[in-house]
Amino acid sequence: MNNIVVLPLILPIMLGVLLVFLRPYVKTQRVISLLTMAAIAVVSMIMLGRIQEDGIMRIDFGGWKPPFGILFVADSFAVLLVLTTSIVTAICLLYAFSSIGEKRENMFFYPFVLLLVAGVNGSFLTGDIFNLFVCFEVMLLASYVLITLGGEKAQLRESLKYVLINVLASWFFLVALAYLYGTLGTLNMAHLAERVAEAGQDPILTTIALLFLVVFALKAGLLLFFWLPGSYSVPPTVVAALFGALLTKVGIYALFRMFTLIFIHQPEVTHLLINGMAGVTIFAGCLGALAYKDVRQIVAYNVVIAVGFVLIGLGVSTEAALQGAIYYLMHDMIAKAMLFLLAGTMIYLTGEKRFDKMSGLIRNYPMFGWMFFIVMVSLAGIPPLSGFVGKVLIGQGLIETSSYVLLALAFISSVVVLYSLLRIFLNAIFGETIISIEDEKPLPKGMLAPIVLFAICTIALGFGAEGLSSYVSDAANTLANPSIYIDAVLSGK
């Protein structure tokens, strides 16, 4: 009975469709969408436990044995990300209740969040590369709707670019799939990995691998991130938080799958290129984070820096670095969502977008100010918060492979992250208050509570890293030894 594996995909789709019919009942929609996320979190915890006992789980749809049918494969890596996704989405939904506004709630906001999560979870769990394309499209279509929902001028303008660049990226994905199928004659990821290993990764396959690299780099914002800051700074806060937390991570996940499972035989080409791209991404992200005074732009460039940082872990691909990358991915989903919520709330409270026009928020909203402090420290990687473990492990991997340039770049980027956020902190949170008591907007509890919950998550992930370590090391072990994954899929039990 492995049917549980399909639940993270099927639950949000079915309930998302159901919610479309419950359009007038906003309260019911809220409850159902929140319960769905909680249910997925529980399901993924159960799955994590069972993977620890019995190894990788899989479900063959329609009873077609791999490599012929479509299948879902749940290894620790995928399930950890599903778990983080559901927690992050649940907390974001809480924030949405008090901030998104009736207009959007009436226009199917909740169904589309559920469909987005369905696409994200499907992408994490699928074991078939064409199915990955389909799940990507499910996620993207939901994201197109969420980014345009509300129809403000700037929103429409930026979302048009976002949609067009993603349509083009999906096209490249299809081209890469066509070449892959033409060369290897299969689409099952484990089977692909086996065939690539048997036939050897000749130049044609490496070219295809590079095509996939371009596709997923566009989705993840690795080097090709030019679309990201614009499109992540226009939608409502909670949508931006969901995008910042989830969408780029799916691209990163796909890169990890491709380059730890299938195309692993020419690391001097592919992994070197990933390292180079990640290095440039970090550098450019740092420049962006320092260049702007618009809070949302700074936050968006912080996403870019994190993408580079995680993918350095993939580039060196030692087990320690992979563990670090997994920790950092989970940390980053939580911390980036929190950072987006904080930035959005600052803009909501002051009505200004630039941090040099805000001041002294901590005097009006003390709790809020300290939350900003926590996320800043967490993103900078100061122990015992969650960013620390990932950074140390990735650093360890970099030292093992003696990539000292990348090491320096990665850790200087932490300082830049700290500086870019400290600038906001000192200017907008500290300092003399410029909001008089009469003008002070009340900070709704519904907005503060989710931020506090995220802060608890990041502290818990920092202190509880030891408790998660068995799952994370299992995930990294599977990534480092692709034969575990291949056997689990093709052994035909």
């Binding site: 389909v134 197109y144 979302s159 067009l164 999906s170 199928y181 033409g182």
Partner: protein, 112 residues
């Protein structure tokens, strides 16, 4: 046959690239539509055109034609159909609210 189709794909991609590089929004969207047709043909061609019988067990003799590319294309067509429809509506809304159907005019904050 395959050669002809590959040539056709090349022409389609050239046309689509030309359209996508233009400034008019509708042309760009049509370009993405043509682009998707090109890749569907590519999938069909690259997997081999008609290499055997209809893939129905007991109804026809081996060797069978691989039916998978057609299933893939069908899925891809549905997706590109949905996306194109969405982009067209989005472009129309953008035109309505921003009054512009030209990519140059959709540059960024300076024009707000």
């Amino acid at each position: 046959m395959e050669t002809l189709m590959i040539l056709l794909i090349g022409v389609l991609i050239a046309v689509a690239t030309y359209l996508i590089l233009s400034k008019n929004l509708i042309r760009v969207i049509l370009g993405t539509a043509v682009l998707s047709h090109a890749v569907h043909l590519l999938i069909l061609t690259i997997a081999g055109v008609k290499k055997g019988n209809v893939p129905l067990l007991k109804e026809a003799d081996a060797p069978y034609t691989d039916a998978l590319p057609q299933a893939l294309i069908l899925t891809a067509i549905v997706i590109s159909f949905a996306v194109t429809a969405f982009v067209l509506v989005l472009a129309y809304r953008t035109y309505q609210s921003n009054g512009i159907d030209d990519l140059d005019g959709l540059r960024g904050p300076e024009n707000e």
